[in-house]
């Protein structure tokens, strides 16, 4: 089962990178970022992901087969939409710098803050991609709560292989100003994309793909 979970994590490879790259890229594009700070952010992001996986694995293993009946495709899409709306809002808030700091009451979700990085990691961990559902399906009926934790731990290790290269983005700190502004723009653009196309339109219509 452990090997299976790890392989399932690796199999999510391209899908996982395509989904997490838009979130992870602007996160590691920051002015004056040192190698140490970049590495710390990467650890925070990964710990957020790990926490998300473990939490999900535990809950899903615990509830097991009882929840299975409620997870039809329609609910899956709607749940995914809600996650995307939250992700989009996080990115938008982190991209728009309010001159009057008091305007931004949910500052803790800003990607510049540790809690923001962890939250984004957690939410990307909980994005409902196909391999994630396969893993969840296995945990549902077979493992229980402890088994769910272990299964998702190895699933996390498998997916993390594709996240690690993002730790190299400190190299871009050479281009200080460019990196800073491009990171901000990217967060806004991708935030809008998540919020509108993957979130709201999916939640209230049959879905509009970019």
């Amino acid at each position: 089962m452990i090997v299976e979970a790890f392989l399932l994590g690796i199999s999510s490879g391209s899908y996982c990178v395509f989904n997490c790259a838009p979130v992870a890229t602007p996160l590691f594009l920051k002015e004056n970022m040192t190698k140490k700070e970049n590495f710390r952010r990467l650890l925070l992001f990964l710990s957020g992901r790990l926490a998300g996986y473990l939490l999900f694995g535990y809950i899903i293993g615990l509830t097991g087969a009882y929840a299975l009946g409620y997870f039809d495709p329609y609910i899956r899409i709607k749940l995914e939409s809600v996650t995307m709306i939250i992700l989009g809002l996080c990115l938008l808030i982190s991209g728009i710098e309010f001159k009057n700091k008091r305007l931004c009451s949910i500052k803790k979700l800003k990607a510049n803050k540790r809690i923001g990085v962890i939250t984004l990691g957690l939410l990307t961990g909980l994005s409902f991609c196909p391999p994630f559902f396969v893993a969840a399906g296995r945990v549902f009926g077979t493992t229980g709560s402890l088994g769910g934790l272990i299964y998702f731990l190895f699933f996390f290790i498998g997916t993390s292989i594709f996240i690690l290269p993002f730790g190299g983005f400190f190299l871009f700190s050479r281009f200080k100003s460019a990196v800073r502004f491009m990171g901000k723009y990217l967060r806004i653009m991708i935030g809008l994309y998540f919020l509108l196309f993957l979130g709201l339109l999916n939640l209230f219509t049959e879905g509009v793909k970019l």
Binding site: N19, A21, A178, F181, M189, I190, Y193, L201, K209
Partner: protein
């Protein structure tokens, strides 16, 4: 007087090869009214080339060609679509059959998905067509190696729209500072975003949602929410980026701040031998060039370094407006040619301005010539039918 004669001779020497090229590729193969159209086009381009060299004024005559190319492109393109397909609407069947003409604007969006997945996300023919992927890529490669981002001021048949809008009226109603990082880095962000989005969706995201030229080329139907949203996007982008904002700012807004292809050309265009150099000894830091540059390619920082930013499109505006003539066009890796002590005629022929004008109008006429001749031809036929 002697100088004028020298300039006439040198201008004619450089112009003749261009005319021969136009004769062989446009005039000789044409028949009927198409031949007349080809002659009109060839004489037009030859005249512009000669005047550019004789007056040593790149900006003025290049701009005439550039705007003419943009205005003559869309009647030909759209009318051909209507006669071939029945409408300018892009149907699924056209994409399945790979019937969409390849557009240079999607090059950066198509390269990355192709590198990762070996899938060409643009529904275009690979070979055997003037508008196939390989034809356009070969022309793009040739232009990039010779002119770099000069493509954006000499060859692109879209850029003339905001060049035209920005030249209407003289009063600047909205100030756009080239020093602003918000302005300078937006197009590069667009490039990164579109490359990632195209890779994620394996579709041409720029073409579907962000191209301001869709209104005057081809677009999807409006039978769905997606189509309706895309239609709103393309109308807003066309009016905003190509008409209103260039008019208000007196800048080529789309080319200078938005175009992801322009950003891509800025990065790959360093291979070009042409550089615009600012002579620190002559420069009085009046900042006129900084204020007038249509693509925001001269900043305070670049001025101090004595050169333009990498986003420079070699349009020639700064050469024209500098009151101290401190700005000049130079070869970057043929430095000896810049300071040759030879006869004035040879000096003029071997000057960077001659080379740039020749290459610019040659590639420009290869890319835009077919469309321009076609529109002239259709106009002649239309008048013929009316009379």
């Amino acid at each position: 007087m002697k100088d004028k004669i020298y300039r006439v001779i040198s201008s004619a020497v450089v112009t003749l090869p261009l005319f021969f090229n136009l004769y062989f590729f446009q005039i000789s193969s044409a028949i009927g009214t198409r031949k007349i159209s080809a002659v009109i086009f060839s004489v037009f381009v030859t005249f512009l080339m000669f005047m550019t060299l004789y007056k040593r004024d790149i900006y003025k005559y290049r701009r005439v060609f550039f705007i003419a190319a943009a205005l003559l492109f869309f009647p030909s393109f759209m009318s051909n679509l209507i006669s071939n397909r029945g409408s300018v609407t892009l149907e699924d069947i056209n994409m399945i059959k790979n019937e969409v003409p390849f557009c240079h604007m999607v090059t950066p969006s198509a390269i990355i998905p192709y590198a990762f997945t070996k899938t060409l996300i643009f529904p275009s023919k690979l070979f055997n067509s003037y508008t196939s992927v390989y034809s356009m890529l070969m022309i793009w490669l040739l232009a990039t190696l010779t002119m770099g981002r000069g493509w954006c001021s000499w060859v692109c048949f879209y850029g003339g729209w905001d060049e035209l809008s920005s030249s209407i009226g003289k009063k600047k109603r909205l100030k756009l500072s080239p020093n602003s990082s918000y302005v300078r880095y937006f197009k590069f962000t667009m490039l990164i975003f579109l490359a990632l989005a195209s890779l994620k969706t394996l579709s041409v995201v720029y073409c579907e949602w962000f191209c301001p030229l869709k209104l005057i080329t081809e677009h999807g139907d409006t039978n769905s929410i997606k189509g309706y949203l895309q239609f709103i996007f393309m109308v807003v982008l066309f009016i905003g980026l190509l008409i209103v904002l260039p008019f208000l700012t007196k800048k080529r807004f789309q080319c200078g701040t938005y175009c992801p292809f322009g950003a891509f050309q800025s990065l790959v265009g360093k291979v070009s031998p042409f550089r615009v150099i600012i002579d620190a000894k002559k420069c009085t830091e009046c900042s006129i060039c900084l204020e007038k540059c249509p693509t925001l390619s001269i900043t305070s920082e670049s001025l101090k370094k004595g050169k333009t930013d990498k986003t420079c499109t070699l349009c020639g505006k700064c050469l024209e407006v500098c009151p101290k003539k401190a700005i000049s066009l130079r070869f970057s890796w043929l430095k000896r040619v810049n300071s040759l002590n030879i006869h004035p005629i040879l000096n003029n022929i071997l000057s960077p301005i001659s080379f740039l004008s020749f290459v610019g109008l040659l590639i420009g006429s290869i890319v835009c010539g077919g469309f321009m001749v076609d529109t002239i031809n259709k106009t002649i036929n239309l008048f013929g039918a009316l009379l």
